[in-house]
C-alpha cells in the first residue's frame, strides 16, 4: 500500500482528495491544532459527496491528522498534496523539504508550483487541478452528526504527468486523470475561465442579494442570467483566443450551471467570494478574463457586472475587508491602480471605470440591492 500526505485540511484537502485515495493510506497535516486533535479524538470525519442527485457518505480515518510535522515520517511518503490556499503557500514550513516524493499543488493557480518549490526547497513539485466544487462546511444536519463534516461534488482530479511518477503509483490511483502539460493547459483554461470565474461572480452577486449559500443565490433569476452570460462571453473569448477544441469548451460550459445550483453542496458564499483582491488582481480570474474578452472583441457586459459586484464585496470577516473599504476612498480608478496593479491607462481600467456607476445601478435594480 502506498502512502500520501495531504497538507491542508480544508475543502479540497479533507473534503475531496480522500475520495480519490481508494488504494492509499493517507495522513493529514494542518496548522489548526484544534481541528487535527478533534479529528483524531473522534476517530476520523465524514465527507459527503453529491453524485447524480444523491448524497453519498463516507467516513475517512487518516493514519495521522496532526498540526505537528515531527509526528510524521516525511521521507516515507509516496505522494503529497498541497491544499492550503494560494496565499498560504508562501508560509509552508521548511521542514516539508524533507519530503522525497512528488508534491502536487492543487491550489487553483499554476504559479503556486514555483512558490511551493521555493518554500519547501524542492524541484519535485507539479501542478494539479481539482475540478470540483468542495464546500468548507456541510448541511446543518450533517454538522450535527459530525462537526468536521464537509460536502463535496463528485469532481475530477487532474495531475500533471511526469516521469518521476511511477507506474506502480498510478495503479494505486485509478480515479485520477494523468495529463500532459498541453492537456493541463486546456483543462486549466476551462477550469479557470468557465468554472472559477462564473463561480465567483455567482458568489459576489449572491453576497449582494444577502444569501449565505451559492445554491440559494441561483434561485434568483437575475444572478442566473448574469452567470449564464459570463459563461457565454468566456466560451466565445476562449474559442477566439485559443486552439482548444470547441466541442470540449461547449461541453464544459454546459455542465457548469448545474454544478453551481447543486443544493447538496452547501457551498458558502463567504468561501467562494473570499479574498477578492486575488480574484480581481491583474491577470486573475476576473480581470484576466476581462482582458481575454476585450482582446477577443467580446463585449463582456455580464463579466463586468461580476467585477463590479466583486468591487462591492465588503465582508468584515474577510481578510481583504480593510482593503476593499478603500474602493470608496481611493475612487475606482485609483483602487484598480494601487490595490490591483491595473494602470488607469489600460483598456481594462477604462472599461471598468467608465461603466462602474451604471453597472452598480444595474445590479441594484436587478437584485433590489441597497
Amino acid at each position: 500500500m502506498a502512502r500520501a500526505l495531504v497538507i491542508g485540511a480544508g475543502a479540497i484537502g479533507r473534503g475531496f482528495l480522500p475520495w480519490t485515495f481508494d488504494n492509499l493510506d493517507f495522513d493529514i497535516f494542518d496548522t489548526s491544532k484544534e481541528l487535527c486533535e478533534g479529528i483524531e479524538q473522534q476517530g476520523g470525519y465524514h465527507s459527503f459527496m453529491s453524485k447524480n442527485g444523491e448524497l453519498l457518505e463516507r467516513k475517512f480515518l487518516p493514519g495521522r491528522c496532526t498540526s505537528n510535522l515531527s509526528d510524521l515520517r516525511l521521507q516515507e511518503y509516496d505522494l503529497a498534496f498541497v491544499a492550503v490556499g494560494p496565499r498560504n503557500c508562501y508560509n509552508l514550513p521548511l521542514a516539508l523539504s524533507q519530503l522525497k516524493c512528488p508534491v502536487f499543488s492543487v491550489e487553483n493557480d499554476p504559479k503556486s508550483v514555483e512558490i511551493i518549490s521555493k518554500a519547501v526547497e524542492s524541484n519535485n513539485v507539479y501542478f494539479g487541478i481539482p475540478d470540483v466544487i468542495a464546500s468548507s462546511t456541510a448541511s446543518p444536519e450533517n454538522l450535527q452528526r459530525d462537526k468536521f463534516a464537509l460536502h463535496t461534488e463528485n469532481g475530477l482530479l487532474y495531475l500533471e504527468e511526469h516521469p518521476s511518477i511511477s507506474k506502480k503509483l498510478r495503479k494505486y490511483l485509478p480515479s485520477i486523470s494523468w495529463v500532459s502539460k498541453d492537456e493541463m493547459k486546456r483543462e486549466w483554461d476551462a477550469k479557470l475561465f468557465l468554472h472559477n470565474t462564473p463561480h465567483c461572480v455567482a458568489a459576489y452577486l449572491g453576497y449582494l442579494s444577502k444569501v449565505n449559500f451559492l445554491h440559494e443565490g441561483f434561485e434568483n433569476v437575475f444572478i442566473k442570467h448574469v452567470v449564464e452570460g459570463v459563461i457565454e462571453e468566456l466560451v466565445l473569448a476562449l474559442k477566439r483566443n485559443t486552439n482548444h477544441n470547441h466541442i470540449f469548451l461547449e461541453g464544459y460550459a454546459e455542465k457548469e450551471l448545474g454544478r453551481f445550483s447543486d443544493s447538496f453542496l452547501y457551498d458558502p458564499i463567504s468561501r467562494v467570494a473570499r479574498e477578492p483582491l486575488r480574484k480581481l488582481s491583474s491577470g486573475g480570474r476576473l480581470t484576466g478574463a476581462l482582458t481575454m474578452c476585450l482582446l477577443a472583441g467580446v463585449n463582456p457586459i455580464n463579466l463586468n457586472t461580476g467585477i463590479t459586484s466583486a468591487l462591492n464585496y465588503l465582508d468584515p470577516k474577510d481578510r481583504d475587508y480593510e482593503s476593499m473599504l478603500q474602493v470608496d476612498k481611493f475612487g475606482i480608478a485609483n483602487f484598480l491602480k494601487y490595490y490591483l496593479n491595473i494602470s488607469p491607462k489600460t483598456i481594462e481600467s477604462k472599461y471598468i471605470v467608465s461603466s462602474f456607476e451604471d453597472t452598480k445601478s444595474f445590479i441594484r435594480k436587478g437584485l433590489q440591492w441597497n
Binding site: 478603500q326 475612487g331 485609483n334 491602480k337 494601487y338
Partner: protein, 272 residues
C-alpha cells in the same frame, strides 16, 4: 483618525500627474540647485497640512516645504506629537520625467513611531505601518532574496569632513561586499527597493529627517537591522538585511567619531 485616511486623497492628487504636467519648477531652495520645488510639492504639502490641521490639531506639522528651522530632529524627539512629511520625495526625478518619486509621512509621539504612510505611484503601492497593526501593503509583494542585491547610498549635498571620510570608506565596503552602489535621486524609492530586496542595505548620511524617517518603522517591521546617528537637525541611518555589511558599516561610522544608536520599534528616537 489615522494618517492612512488621507491615502485616497493623495492617490487622487498624484493621478493628476498622469494627465497634465505639474512638474514645472516653481523655485529652488537656498543655494542648492538640487532642492527644486514644483507645483505638485506645494499642492500635496497644502493637502496634507490641511488634513493634519483638522485631524491632528495638537501635533506639530513638520514638512519639507514648511521647514525653516534648523532643529527638526530636536522637534521630532522632543515634541509630544509630530507629523513628519515629505510631500514629494524625488522632485527632480518628476521634473526630469523619471518615475522615481513618492510621498512619505509619519506620526511620532514622544519620540516613538505611531504610524507611517508611504505612497509610490510608479509602483502602484501604498504602504501603511501602525504600531498596533504592523505593516500592510496594498499589494502583496514577496521580498526577493537576491545574492546580487546592491546598496543604496544617499547623502546630503554638503557633508561634514567626518562624513566625507565615512562615505569613502562605506563606498569601498559596498563595492567589495555587495553588488555595488546605487543612487537615483529618491531616498523613498531606495528605501522601498530595500524592502523588496533589490538593495540589501540603505545608508543615508546627514539626511533631512523627512527624507528617511517615515520608512524606519516599515523596514524595522520587516526584520531589517537599523542604526542611526542624529544631531538636532539631521539624521544618518544604516538599514540592512545583511548582517556583515551592517556590522562593518557601524564600525566605519564609529571609527569616524559618530555616536551610533541601535534602533528597534520599542525604543525612542534620540539625538546626540
Amino acid at each position: 483618525m489615522e494618517l492612512v485616511s488621507m491615502a485616497g486623497i493623495l492617490a487622487k492628487h498624484f493621478s493628476l500627474l498622469e494627465f497634465e504636467s505639474r512638474s514645472d519648477v516653481e523655485y529652488t531652495k537656498g543655494q542648492s540647485i538640487r532642492d527644486v520645488v514644483t507645483k505638485t510639492d506645494l499642492e500635496i504639502h497644502k493637502i496634507v497640512g490641511e488634513f493634519c490641521a483638522k485631524e491632528f490639531p495638537t501635533a506639530l506639522f513638520l514638512s519639507e516645504e514648511n521647514s525653516v528651522q534648523g532643529n527638526s530632529m530636536k522637534c521630532i524627539t522632543e515634541s509630544p506629537s509630530v507629523i513628519v512629511v515629505d510631500p514629494l520625495d524625488g522632485t527632480n526625478n518628476l521634473v526630469y520625467g523619471l518615475q522615481e518619486y513618492g510621498f512619505m509621512g509619519c506620526l511620532i509621539r514622544e519620540a516613538k513611531f505611531i504610524e507611517s504612510l508611504v505612497l509610490i505611484p510608479s509602483e502602484n503601492q501604498v504602504l501603511t505601518w501602525n504600531h498596533t497593526r504592523g505593516l500592510r501593503m496594498s499589494r502583496d509583494l514577496p521580498r526577493l532574496d537576491l545574492p546580487s542585491a546592491s546598496t543604496y547610498l544617499a547623502y546630503a549635498p554638503r557633508l561634514s569632513s567626518n562624513y566625507i571620510n565615512t562615505r569613502l570608506e562605506l563606498m569601498n565596503l559596498f563595492d567589495s561586499s555587495t553588488a555595488g552602489v546605487y543612487r537615483y535621486g529618491s531616498a523613498c524609492i531606495g528605501l522601498f527597493r530595500t524592502l523588496l530586496g533589490i538593495h540589501s542595505t540603505f545608508v543615508g548620511l546627514q539626511m533631512r529627517p523627512w527624507d528617511v524617517i517615515p520608512f524606519i518603522p516599515i523596514l524595522a517591521s520587516m526584520g531589517a537591522s537599523l542604526a542611526y546617528s542624529a544631531s538636532i537637525e539631521e539624521i544618518s541611518v544604516l538599514i540592512s538585511f545583511d548582517s556583515h555589511v551592517f556590522s562593518r558599516s557601524k564600525e566605519i561610522f564609529a571609527s569616524n567619531g559618530e555616536e551610533v544608536f541601535d534602533f528597534n520599534l520599542e525604543k525612542s528616537l534620540k539625538v546626540t
